[in-house]
């Protein structure tokens, strides 16, 4: 058979081709779950060992891949599972960064958990605001509206120099990894990597659980057929708002991690090109798969790293061409393509 194992018939290729264990449930749940968790543990183990063997540059690079992967994964909730392409994730990501910056600059001594809390609150507030307006619209209109919302926040942050530092952004010191009363140690690049691995893994497990929950099923049925889902009796608007807020929350978490890693918050990260990159990661990796976007981020960043040796700062020319080619010829992304290839 030429199609993938999960050949759910679907007229257009943009929504996901189903998750890996949907058709498996009838055949061999145990074996698939075993393979899945074995693969999961191997990758997790590799990620944990990696900083011990990699040189400094690649250690940082790997941490960055995970952070961008988390951002991509968060937008997959909308693109892959709910069928709404968001071009506004930079707002959530950026507000996460600025939230963390506020906490680290205003409270002494700097506290990591407070930074995460502030970042999440900021991102969730913005996500709620954006969601309230943008979920009234569908498809392209949703994409454009989220894009314009992220630009609103970009302009505000860019011009409100007294609070946000304007074009220069804010810089701060990295907080120590501490649990009050137990221990406190400054971050090294290795412990930071482990911390990011822990956060991203936890987020992945939470998101995976959510997408498999009844709530996640409703989101997927909105993707497949919105009017029918409405006819069944689900309050679609509420589900969409919660989906956008959830997605924004994890995007904000990625922003906090990025701020902690790089010790600054800058308006560039609120600019919509960051959202565009998140969409690119999704399309490259495979939408509706959660892990796919992380692979997509890795692929994109490696591509950028490799190509910028030849094309210097113009690496986006070849990357853009590859991206367009993937949209046309490989709509299911790298992961979907590999899966299909393995199943042949």
């Amino acid at each position: 058979m030429s199609l993938a194992a999960e050949n759910v018939p679907h007229p257009d290729p943009l929504p996901a081709r189903g998750r890996r264990d949907r058709p498996a449930k009838r055949q061999s749940v145990g074996r698939h779950a075993l393979i899945y968790w074995a693969g999961f543990s191997i990758i997790l183990a590799l990620l944990i060992i990696a900083p011990l063997v990699l040189p400094e540059f690649w250690r940082r690079f790997l941490t960055e891949i995970l952070i961008w992967g988390l951002l991509a994964m968060s937008s997959d909730i909308l693109i892959g599972y709910t069928g709404m392409v968001s071009f506004g994730h930079s707002a959530f990501f950026g507000l996460g960064m600025y939230g963390a910056a506020t906490a680290l600059l205003s409270v002494q001594p700097p506290n990591l958990w407070l930074a995460i809390f502030y970042g999440l609150v900021a991102a969730a507030a913005v996500a709620g605001f954006v969601a309230y307006f943008s979920t009234r619209l569908r498809d392209i209109y949703f994409a454009i509206t989220t894009l314009i919302f992220s630009q609103i926040f970009y302009v505000i942050i860019f011009t409100w120099t007294e609070v946000t530092g304007g074009e220069n952004g804010l810089t701060f010191r990295r907080p120590p990894l501490a649990i009050a009363g137990l221990f406190s140690m400054p971050f090294t690049s290795t412990t930071l990597h482990w911390f990011v691995v822990a956060v991203v893994t936890l987020s992945y497990l939470v998101l995976r659980r959510i997408t498999q929950s009844p709530f996640g099923m409703v989101l997927q049925s909105i993707r497949e057929n919105e009017s029918r889902t409405r006819a069944i009796g689900y309050a679609i608007e509420r589900y969409k708002i919660v989906a956008v807020m959830l997605s924004g929350l994890f995007a904000g978490l990625a922003g906090v991690l990025y701020a902690v890693q790089n010790q600054f918050a800058a308006p560039d990260f609120v600019f919509f090109l960051v959202s565009g990159e998140a969409v690119i990661y999704n399309v490259m990796g495979g939408i509706g798969t959660l892990v796919g976007p992380i692979f997509g981020a890795a692929f994109f960043l490696l591509l950028r790293e490799g190509l910028s040796r030849f094309f210097t700062e113009y690496y986006l020319i070849p990357v853009g061409i590859i991206f367009v080619a993937m949209v046309i010829f490989m709509p299911q992304g790298l992961l979907g393509f590999m899966r299909r290839w393995l199943n042949q």
Binding site: L14, V85, Y141, I144, Q151, I152, F158, T159, G320
Partner: protein, 290 residues
Amino acid sequence: MEIPFDQILIQTINGVVTGMILALVASGLTLIFGIMDVVNFAHGELFMLGAYVGVIVLAASGNFWLALVAASLVIALLGAAIYLTTLRPLLGRDPLTTILATFGVSLVLQNYALWQFGPVARKIAEPFTGHFSLFYLDYPWYRLVIALLSAAIISALWLFLKFGTFGIWIRATTQDRVMAQAMGIPVPWVLTVVFAIGAGMAGASGVLFGPLAGVNHAMGLDWILKAFIVVVVGGMGNLAGSIAAAIFISLLEAYAALWVSPAQAVIVSFVVLILTLLFRPTGLFASAPR
């Protein structure tokens, strides 16, 4: 703060002038959307490249009008090429994939311009430098000519759509693609030409805008955002609506610039967009709800 009357009048004229250019950009965008269901993210980049072609031709020939025509033609050809290579294969897929593909195209074009022309802004000289006095200011005639030219191009488009055989084919394709095909209208060719026309209009507006501000590789971003706002506020695929919305929003921004910096004045158009979405999601000037 008291705003003198003369300033308001000047800002009104400025707003109408930029509004007409914006209308030119947005009408290309809305034409492409209305007929093909394609959201052209690369439209701003076509605008920017049009301005660059204008710079080059102007430097070579010294004739502004030649530059205007050349830029429209070159960008129209580029648009046709983009359509044939990236959008034709996506025909019949979800319209969202066209956003993704044209977003990729816009990244390529923008970085190509940066690579080819460098980060330094270029300037297009005004075709004529006459001024007329408006209160204490010398107001350049050129700006008024831009507004008139934009209006002329848009009216030409409208007449073409209304009376030209090809225009009638285009409208037929909009209404029912399959039936148009069955009636012998060469639909694939019509779609290519529509994209080329939209692109050519973006290229022309790039040249027209060139003398007002510098030409650089990032100018497309501002315009595509504004054009998106205009198209949504005016009602997607509604030509007259986008023109009205373009002038409306540019006027508002021009007035807002009296109080705040121009960078912050942009927020006004964002607010208009939000209010439109809240109360008239199909667009301020939409005739019928969709």
